[in-house]
């Protein structure tokens, strides 16, 4: 949803002063502290609405940043586009929710609370979307490194000849690449633990999502370790051949 830039600037200033935690304070604040009732029964809740607006803006900024991060990647596992679509949808929904809260008439704090709470519970921007998107980004970058190291290993195999030490280093490189494949999969087919990542969605009970993300994270860490080993062995082969 497009908004006037003036409002954006004001929101940024408010957002810099407020943390997302304040949204919790917003909905539990005493009604009397949130504004006086108008003749039509609507109470302005000016401070509370500003806090909701700041929290929404913070989430929109985060979601858009994640989109821009994934948008420029090569997407070797075909995960990025689906994630980008989910992130854009979340940003749009957050903006719509905020617009609704800003324009709605609330006679009670309970009514405002009821409308604002989905900002926390329905989108899980920081509990799900941020770690999920960074895990997908990590898989993307490891896929890129894996492809480059595979090309190097193939070329080195042609140059290695029959020198025992060189062949040993090259074998170590290929073993490490195989270990990385066991964690990540072989592009474009991701391993099951990695393929589960983009399918995760916000939930009231986040334990299953968190478990899946922790599993993927462990695989990413292991795969990266193997690729670092592969690179080190590759550098040894190059040194062997250039000596």
């Amino acid at each position: 949803m497009t908004r006037p830039s003036v409002r954006r600037g004001a929101r940024a200033a408010v957002g810099a002063m407020l943390t997302p935690l304040t949204i919790a304070a917003l909905v539990v604040a005493p009604a009397g502290a949130l504004g006086n009732a108008r003749a039509d029964g609507c109470r302005p809740f000016v401070a509370a609405k500003a806090r909701v607006d700041a929290a929404a803006a913070h989430r929109e900024t985060t979601l858009n940043l994640l989109v821009s991060t994934l948008d420029v990647r090569r997407d070797p596992w075909s995960m990025n586009m689906g994630q980008i679509t989910a992130l854009r949808a979340a940003a749009s929904d957050v903006a719509a929710l905020d617009a609704h809260v800003q324009s709605a008439c609330y006679a009670t704090v309970a009514a405002l609370r009821s409308d604002a709470l989905p900002l926390l519970t329905n989108y899980r921007v920081y509990w799900l979307r941020v770690p999920q998107s960074h895990a997908i980004e990590a898989a993307d970058r490891l896929g890129e490194a894996r492809a480059a190291l595979g090309r190097v290993a193939s070329r080195l195999a042609a140059l290695a000849g029959s020198n025992t030490a060189t062949r040993g280093d090259l074998d170590a490189m290929n073993r490490a690449l195989g270990a990385a494949d066991a964690q990540l999969g072989t592009a474009p087919t991701a391993s099951s633990v990695m393929a589960a990542l983009p399918a995760l969605s916000p939930a009231a009970d986040m334990s299953a999502d968190v478990g899946a993300m922790q599993g993927a994270r462990a695989a990413l860490i292991a795969a990266r370790g193997s690729l670092v080993e592969a690179r080190t062995s590759g550098l040894r082969v190059v040194a062997d051949l250039g000596a």
Binding site: L21, W127, P131, A148, R151, L220, V238, G242
Partner: protein, 112 residues
């Protein structure tokens, strides 16, 4: 006018100098030094052993530099690719660091 003995001396010096040049030239050739028309280290094919004859008459096989100029260019390109892979691995590490849901959830805030 030169005397006979002086002439003999000069001839002897010339002959010994010529002999010394011949001996030095032969020594240079047998030690693998460059000769006209022979391949230089830059153009010698890689991994081709060279054989030289020792003063004792036995032969010794030595390994030339492992990488030719073409191979060295290849290895330089491969090193660049390994460096690029290293950059990707560094970026992956940064992304992994931000992928822990137990850390990022703190920014979510708490529901009342």
């Amino acid at each position: 006018m030169m005397g006979m003995s002086e002439t003999r001396t000069r001839i002897a010096v010339l002959v010994s100098t010529a002999l010394a040049i011949v001996v030095l030239g032969a020594g240079c050739a047998s030690s693998g030094g460059p000769q006209a028309g022979s391949p230089t280290s830059a153009t010698r094919p890689p991994n081709v052993p060279t054989t030289r004859v020792r003063a004792s008459g036995s032969t010794a096989t030595t390994q030339p530099p492992a990488a030719s100029a073409a191979t060295r260019a290849d290895l330089a390109a491969l090193t660049q690719q390994l460096d690029a892979a290293g950059s990707s691995l560094g970026a992956a590490n940064a992304a992994i660091a931000q992928s822990d849901p137990n850390q990022t959830k703190n920014e979510e805030g708490s529901a009342p």
